[in-house]
Symmetry: D2
Subunit: 149 residues, 4 copies
């Protein structure tokens, strides 16, 4: 899972700080439970405030968790001075987001100087079982402070 | 924009009710401003609670607006007894989600008995200008009561 | 890789016949090298006729291989009477399609009565090394004879 | 359709030459019928060699046309010294690719120094009617010969 060598020796501090600087993560109750170079696991509790018409968590909220997992995973491999931007993602919804707790796992598939490609999976913990509910593939971009940028 | 003939003559009531039944829309402050068969426009105010590390609205929240616009547009063309499910979507993030108000416009590209395909665009109103910030393409599915399914 | 139970005991014959019935596969020189319920591996030789301006295989041709791998994997889990249709796919191009031989591996992520979700990866064999060059996520649909549909 | 100002005054020659340098386009019989800054239209005849099991053109081949339309549209807005690379695309298949002639129309949604975003539509001409059969959204990247690259 972690064949990647981080460019920033303080990648853990940097990625954690970037995550903590996002008010949306606090509002959604999402937190980091595991972090390695190029891989991350986030968790989110169920919250009725973010459900859709059937009581499941809204697909956009599941996407927020998946996107952020990809962002932290990608950011952990970027140089110290980089900022990060999501270019695009596709979310596939395999099963209803029903459960008490949701887990988002992301891994870098290919890091690059400019673009980093990630994959993520969302799981729901429901009635003692953990099931795959959604997948994401995402493209992320490193924004570097450049003379010419 | 509305070459489509709704199967449900009460499509407006049905789509509005489905939208209103989603707690996530209330939490995010999203509302319907325009609705026609196969086309919808939603608005969302800026909310600091849903921003990322640079003060822009989180991509997952923009996705929630786009996804819901697609859902309402697709649902407006479905028969009365259908429930709706998002199968997958891709979000492309063209510009930072910076502004005081966000608009989500969706249109049905092709309705179908089982699958409906939609496209949506997100706009930010910022300093007196409205700019395109994101696009979505989505696949939605009609869930029909099992006698006919 | 094959936790799936095929509905059609003759899935191998059926999937192989569906593949063989596609003239495009013969034209591109693509063949099946491995097939299990919900998983398949295809190979394609390099062909100068299908390159782009830098001598790499065109992204659309790589996509044809990935899409077909997804199609065969999904089809292997469908009932005997089903026909199959690709609904949508996303291809991410990680590296140039340079090499003498290309491998397409697909797996079903979630089979369903109507929709089946697959993931696939394309590899290039170049100068004695095999490298990941592209990924796909795809949605496929079973077309069933209309009595039951 | 062409609110874009090309950076390369010889964009037409450059885009046409890049297209002509792709053997795959000749093999598939695809040609340019219209080209403006940031917009292009390609055509392809039906060819039995590229069909799938129902006699329709294979989704990968339709994708090759859509991808190339996006590539030419994006390339027409890039500076003279740029090479172009497709990062990712999503193809949605709305209807069978049945017909005597296929048209691929692409437009740039947002050009950028590094990334350009395009949308494309594929149409089939069949029995005197032209119908939308597929859509694509794509991300393309300019490769610039840079001192710092």
């Amino acid at each position: 899972m972690s064949a990647f060598q981080p460019k920033n020796p303080d990648y853990r501090t940097a990625a954690t700080a970037m995550f903590a600087a996002q008010p949306a993560m606090g509002t959604l109750g999402i937190s980091i439970v595991d972090l390695a170079p190029g891989a991350v696991e986030l968790v989110m509790p169920h919250s009725a405030a973010f459900t859709q018409q059937n009581g499941f968590i809204h697909a956009g909220i599941i996407t927020a968790g998946l996107d952020n997992a990809c962002g932290v995973a990608a950011f952990s491999l970027m140089p110290r001075e980089a900022d990060i931007l999501t270019v695009e993602f596709k979310t596939t919804l395999l099963a209803p987001a029903r459960g008490g707790r949701f887990v988002f796992k992301a891994e870098v598939v290919k890091p690059g100087r400019t673009l980093t490609f990630c994959e993520a999976r969302a799981f729901a913990e429901h009635e003692g079982k953990t099931g795959l509910i959604a997948t994401m593939t995402a493209t992320l971009m490193a924004m570097l402070p450049r003379n010419a940028a």
